[in-house]
Amino acid sequence: MPQQDNTEQLLSLVVAGDQSAVNQLLDRHRAKLRRMIDVYLDPRVAVRADGSDVVQEALAEAAVKLPAFARQGNFPFYPWLRQLAWDRLVQLHRRHIGAAKRTVKREQAVVGFDSDHSLLQLAEWIAAKESSPSQQRIREERRHELMISLQTLPEHYRQVVVLRHLEELQFHEIAAVLQLGMEAVRSLYRRAIERLHSLLKTRGIDLT
């Protein structure tokens, strides 16, 4: 992550009571948080609620809790922030998509890595990279293929890919989010890439 070390410096300023450090710290994660919300916000909910509100609310909550968090120590900052936003996102979905019928366990799945929406997003981004029309057509096909490949990717693999490449988390942050050790995350990621690679290959997609 860019400016990772600055994050730690800012955190120590927060501990020292520097209010501007709080704002600075939160401000620079706003875009990233927004991206995360975009990835997971269910389109059905998106028409009724604004993702930026979720970000704003989460940042407001974070501003209050930040000093305590910073004092407490060694849990990575962004995964913590992300969790606050995630909780709000879950709440939002719960509010909008029939709360009463779900148990807590099922609620977790409401906003989930298995949501097709996050896949769609991933594929859109890939397609959006190209500018020339002919390339775009090729891209269009590739996007379709990638979409299918990602869909056939087992859920846990897809999850780590989404965290790494859509949310742009560092491996140690992914470890914190998934509550796994570093070794496990690295292994998971490597395997996900291998699987993705072989899926693309069997579909005849040449990426080189």
Partner: protein, 1213 residues
């Protein structure tokens, strides 16, 4: 997906080097770098090929990152200032590892040009200073340790905000890696040829005599596993003396076993050295034990454990590795209990893993792991590997005993026992006795049993008394077993000397033997038929225990009859235990059945006066109470009590019985009686057991809750704080007993309106219970319900609703028959109602009612309570008549069966409110008076509920005109209200009502003062725009007017008017204000304002549908008068008179209008004296008629300016 899936997947194919490589490439690509494989040396050809294959996909994925920009000096994972950097005296060279506690680099100490390992601590700059200080202290203490097996710490310091720790560089391999490698070997090779650890140096023979030479420097370099293994190889007959039960030593992997024993012995020596210096390691695990290149074992990371705390453990998955080896007291968060014996435990767990190559606690789920550490015994090592020597099994078991006191009392003893084993001497560790077995059985189950009642206390106090019951039962049982065993041993000795022994002693011995056999049979039955099935092995998920216990009991039930046909005493015991289990599963009916069977058996075989029979009868009473049959419970308790207190006055059962009777009083709402009994029990227990006994505290807790119900919150709070502190001290946090006390404290705090504190406690409880019991445990669910209720009190409806809705759905699904389910549903409905979702609330209440009808029956007090709640919904929805008939119906049942229960009082209050809402004040008085009488019986004088019912009753009296009764009541409560209820609704009502009474008595100054007080109270509670606040303001104005201060009157009303106009355009207060203000302006001759308001008032009246209302006529007549339109005024008056109803107020209105006509006549037709006289005559007529109907002319007419002027000219006699 759940965690297990990842893990199985990961462990199936570990390829760390390649994983790291892929991730490194991914990170490089993220920074926008080109990938040159030369940068990644050393790289095996195989890895290079695989990497090249994956590279396009990695690049494709990396292209997705629009936000990543290359930064110049950045290299993966290493902070800028570290790269080839210098940190103080150290030059960083390369990263050699990283873990939860930071990154380790190889470095050079410049001044001494020696190789060191430097550990950089994570986020060191933001550790709290106290913890940092503690870390520094510990690290310095660790640095002072000098031992052959402790990695020397060179320095501890801080450079440019980076905290680090420099130690001797050990070039070698941690035991963790050794175990991993060995585990792989085991799966790859056949059992016949397991190689000795391939990572240790080649075995060299050494002098066996040096085995005993431990803890010295010269021996230390030969102590690699390989070396020691060679000493003890079976090939050397000198060193393999055979021992009874130890024939396993000839097995091929025994060399590993001995090497392990020796290695751990050395580690234990090192630990002992540290412990003597007062340093505890706190994080002993294979990863922290290193073999150097010479095969010597080293303990690393001394003094580092403090920078991790339990709170980080709860969030970081990285630390599972650490948690796995933690002692129960560490894992359970009882930090203050952690001493050097915690290290002994962790070393025991390490030994376990080294010997079996399996972790003692293997769960990948943190909660499950915590739970296992606290409550589960891992399988004995010989179960995993029968070839292991029995001695080592005992040593491991003793080292990792859950009870601190059962472990080795020093690391040296552990080392000594290991060496005894190596030298084939008898070891000290022993098999646990029956007593311990019994106690362990209890421990494994106590969590289940007590936790259920932990939350019960908040919801239903009754359960508290029984919380430790099973524990006591089982403990007694174990004591009995122990005694029996002793007798048996004694008997055996006696039989040896049979000639000398007297006949009866032999018989006594035989009896004891028989009893021992019986109890053993019982224990075996439990062990084989119930516990076997309840073991968590092979079962998934945190609830496995509970569910399987349940299933096990269900299965065992049919066998009891057959198995114990001739052993009624065992069957009694067993049925009792089963009864308790069912009770805690919420199956009160089955539980009651078991208790009844136990009692009947006792009655038949032991007789009515036997203590066991009486005890069973008490238990039956408890079961009846739980089931909800209070009369049957009372009968059982009374029956038992009658004999117990006469024949066994000192017996614990007698005390228990009184305790239970108090509990019964309590559920029936007889708080005063309950308090009295609890006080007796408490006094007894204090005397008998001492102030610090668990049972004493449990009674204290119950008494505190009763005090709480009696409104003695502060006493209750103080008492509970004491109990919490004591429980914490004895059990630590995270223990069911502590939870119980905390839960009780939270409910008292809530009553004291310390809602934040209550919330904090509940949140803490929830967190701990979730961690230890899991999300779906009934105890956790209970706490969620309780937390939701506190949040509701703080109007945090959304979080409360989420908590409740989810808790209730789990409850309904998994505990459909548990009383918490009913409580939870009831709470959810209450929340919905408070939130204003009346319809949903009604539905949930209906559902609760149906369920309660099924589970508890239509006459049960809870069912009746839900009916009251449901009727409250109807009332709020405006279906007052419907509600009233429901209240009356429920009240009949409540009055008959539960006259003293709280619900009866709730129903009375609700009924009176329904009547008051309909303006039926007379009807409201009866239930209110009854309520007040009941409150007076049960509550202290100053109790809020008592005060409230007094104020409401006074209000009713006022409304029906019984001023004296109202005044008496109000005067009595006013001082309390002024002291404790400033800015409270009740003070507002009371002061306002009393002001009205004073006004009526023409004590106008007092009235004005009280209205001002009432206004302040309303303002504080409801704010300036609330209708009630404005109503008081208008009344205040009226009082000012009556007092004669017209300007003040105008001021008050003018203050109220804009708010009313804006916020309450349809509220009657708006009309009243307009009516009064119009009159005031007329009196003050503020003509312009009067004209405007007359118009506003007329429009308001018409909009209210009052075109033919007397007030409308009055306004219009006044308008005509102002215009001087005699004909119109006259016509209006005549119209009104033609339709006037027989009401003294209307007559007074008519009189006022005629007075205006007289005024107009006097002005417009000044010559026509007769006309004025005639109008005056008509005024007189109307007033007389009004008087004939009982009107008080003076007060009726005081707000009509025309009549006031009339009376000035024509004073009444």
């Amino acid at each position: 997906m759940n965690d297990h899936d990842y893990r199985s997947l990961i462990s199936a194919d570990v390829d760390e080097t390649f994983d790291q490589l892929v991730c490194r490439v991914s990170a490089e690509l993220e920074l926008g770098r080109e990938i040159d494989l030369a940068d990644f040396q050393p790289l095996s050809p195989q890895h290079a090929t695989r990497l090249l294959e994956l590279l396009p996909t990695l690049k494709e994925m990396a292209r997705l990152r629009p936000h990543s920009l290359p930064t110049a000096s950045k290299r993966w994972g290493v902070p800028d200032e570290m790269v080839n950097g210098v940190l103080g005296d150290f030059r960083i060279q390369r990263e050699v590892g990283r873990g939860g506690m930071g990154v380790v680099y190889e470095a050079e100490q410049i001044s001494l040009s020696r190789r060191v390992a430097i550990k950089i601590l994570p986020l060191a700059g933001v550790l709290d200073p106290r913890r940092m200080q503690r870390f520094q202290n510990e690290a310095r203490a660790a640095a002072s340790l000098h031992h052959a097996h402790i990695v020397p710490v060179f320095s501890v310091g801080c450079e440019r905000g980076v905290h680090f720790y420099a130690m001797q560089f050990i070039d070698g391999q941690s035991l963790e890696k050794v175990v991993q490698a060995r585990r792989r070997d085991r799966t790859r090779t056949t059992a016949a040829e397991i190689p000795i650890d391939r990572l240790s140096p080649a075995p060299t023979r050494s002098n066996p005599a040096r085995i005993s030479n431990t803890n010295t420097n010269e021996s230390s370099y030969d102590l690699s596993p390989g070396v020691t293994a060679s000493r003890q190889t079976p090939a050397d007959p000198m060193t393999v003396p055979m021992a009874k039960g130890s024939t396993e030593r000839s097995k091929p992997n025994s060399s590993w076993t001995f090497a392990v024993a020796e290695t751990i012995g050395n580690v234990a020596d090192a630990l002992h050295h540290a412990h003597q210096a007062g340093v505890i390691h706190r994080d002993i695990k294979p990863a922290n034990l290193m073999f150097d290149a010479g095969g010597k074992i080293w303990v690393t990371d001394f003094g580092l454990a403090h920078i991790e705390s339990n709170d980080t453990l709860t969030v970081s998955g990285d630390l599972l590795g650490t948690l796995r080896y933690m002692s129960p007291e560490q894992a359970g968060g009882q930090g203050y209990l952690v001493d050097y014996r915690s290290d002994i435990y962790s070393l025991g767990v390490t030994l376990y893993e080294l010997l079996t190559l399996e972790p003692a606690f293997s769960s990948r789920d943190r909660k499950q792991l915590l739970h296992d550490i606290l409550h589960r015994q891992p399988p004995p090592i010989r179960k995993l590997d029968p070839t292991l020597p029995v001695e080592l099994e005992l040593i491991v078991a003793k080292a990792m005993a859950k009870e601190v006191a059962e472990r080795y009392s020093s690391a040296l003893e552990l080392a000594a026992d290991l060496r005894r084993f190596l030298k084939n001497e008898p070891i000290l560790a022993r098999q646990p006795s029956y007593l311990q077995r019994g106690l362990k059985w209890c421990q494994r189950h106590i969590a289940l049993v007590t936790v259920v009642s932990a939350t019960a206390v908040g919801l239903c106090l009754a359960a508290a008394g029984t919380s430790v019951w099973l524990w006591n039962q089982a403990a007694q049982l174990s004591v009995a077993v122990e005694e029996a065993e002793q007798s048996k041993r004694a008997a055996e000795t006696m039989q040896e000397r049979a000639e000398l022994a007297r006949e009866q002693e032999v018989q006594a011995g035989q009896r004891a033997v028989k009893r021992a056999a019986e109890v053993k049979a019982l224990l075996d039955f439990l062990e084989e038929n119930i516990l076997a099935a309840s073991r968590p092995e092979g079962l998934e998920g945190g609830q496995g225990r509970e569910i399987s216990l349940r299933a096990a009991i269900d299965q065992a039930l049919p066998f009891i009859d057959q198995k114990f046909r001739n052993q009624p005493e065992i069957e009694i015991d067993l049925r009792r235990v089963l009864g308790v289990s069912y009770k805690h599963l919420g199956e009160y009916e089955t539980a009651r059945e078991q208790f009844r069977l136990a009692y009947e058996l006792a009655l038949k075989h032991l007789g009515v006066a036997h203590i066991t029979t009486l005890g069973s009868l008490v238990n039956l009473g408890i079961a009846e109470k739980d089931y909800g049959d209070f009369a049957a419970a009372e009968q059982a308790f009374e029956g038992a009590w009658d004999r117990l207190h006469r024949e066994f006055p000192k017996h614990p059962y007698t005390e228990n019985c009184l305790d239970c009777r108090a509990g019964l009083d309590l559920v029936q709402g007889k708080h005063a009686q309950a308090a009295e009994k609890y006080e007796t029990v408490l006094a007894n227990r204090r005397e008998r057991l001492g102030i610090d006994h668990a049972k004493t505290r449990s009674t204290q807790m119950n008494l505190a809750m009763v005090y709480d119900d009696l409104g003695r919150h502060h006493e209750a709070e103080a008492m509970l704080q004491q109990v919490v502190a004591a429980q914490n001290k004895e059990f630590g946090s995270g223990h069911p007993e502590t939870w119980l006390a905390l839960s009780a404290l939270a409910s008292v705090e809530a009553k004291l309106q310390k809602l934040e504190s209550a919330t904090k406690i509940r949140r803490q409880l929830l967190q701990e219970q979730q961690a230890i019991l899991g999300d779906d445990h009934i105890g956790t669910l209970g706490t969620r319900v309780n937390l939701a209720m506190v949040l509701e009190d703080q109007r945090q409806f959304s979080e409360a609703e989420i908590l409740l809705a989810s808790a209730v759905s789990v409850l309904k699904e998994k505990y459909s028959k548990h009383k918490f389910t009913l409580t939870g549903m009831n709470a959810l409905a209450g929340l919905l109602k408070a939130k204003g979702a009346l319809e949903e609330a009604t539905n949930v209440y209906q559902e609760t009612l149906t369920l309660s009808n099924d589970l508890r029956g239509p006459e049960h007090v809870f069912t009746l309570g839900v009916q009251v709640n449901l009727a409250n919904c109807w009332l709020e929805a405006g279906q007052s008549q419907h509600a009233i008939s429901a209240y009356r119906q429920v009240l009949r049942k409540l009055q008959a069966n539960y006259p003293d229960h709280e619900f009866t009082r709730v129903a009375l209050l609700s009924l009176s409110q329904a009547h008051m809402g309909l303006g039926q004040y007379l009807a409201a008085i009866k239930p209110l008076k009854e309520l007040l009488d009941k409150h007076r019986d049960f509550l202290p004088d100053q109790h809020p509920k008592l005060i409230e019912s007094q104020v409401r009753l006074a209000n009713c009296y006022l409304m029906i005109g019984n001023m004296d009764a109202a005044q008496t009541l109000l005067m009595a409560v006013l001082p309390t209200l002024r002291r404790d209820y400033r800015e409270h609704e009740l003070l507002g009502i009371a002061a306002g009502d009393l002001a009205s009474i004073y006004l009526d008595q023409q004590q106008n100054d007092m009235a004005v003062e009280l209205f001002s007080e009432a206004y302040q109270a309303r303002l504080g509670e409801l704010g300036p725009s609330h209708a009630s606040t404005l109503g008081v303001l208008v009344n205040w104005g009226v009082a000012e007017w009556i007092r004669g201060d017209l300007n003040s009157a105008a001021k008050r009303m003018e203050q109220a008017l804009p708010e009313l106009r804006k916020n309450h355009p349809l509220h009657p207060f708006y009309g009243v204000c307009l009516k009064q203000l119009v009159a005031v302006f007329e009196e003050l001759e503020r003509a312009k304002e009067e004209t405007e308001l007359l118009q506003e008032f007329e429009q308001w009246l018409v909009k209210q549908g009052g075109a033919s209302d007397p007030q409308t006529f009055r306004v219009r007549v006044r308008q005509a008068q102002r215009r001087g339109d005699w004909e119109h005024a006259k016509k209006l008056v005549e119209d009104f008179e033609s339709q006037v109803s027989e009401d003294p107020s209307d007559y007074c209105v008519a009189a006022g209008m005629r007075a205006r006509l007289a005024e107009m006549a006097a002005v417009l037709r000044s010559t026509d004296h007769a006309l004025v006289a005639i109008e005056h005559q008509r005024v007189q007529n109307w007033l007389r008629q009004a008087e004939n109907l009982g009107a008080e002319i003076a007060s009726e007419c005081q707000f009509d300016p025309a009549l006031r002027r009339y009376f000035l000219q024509n004073p009444r006699p």
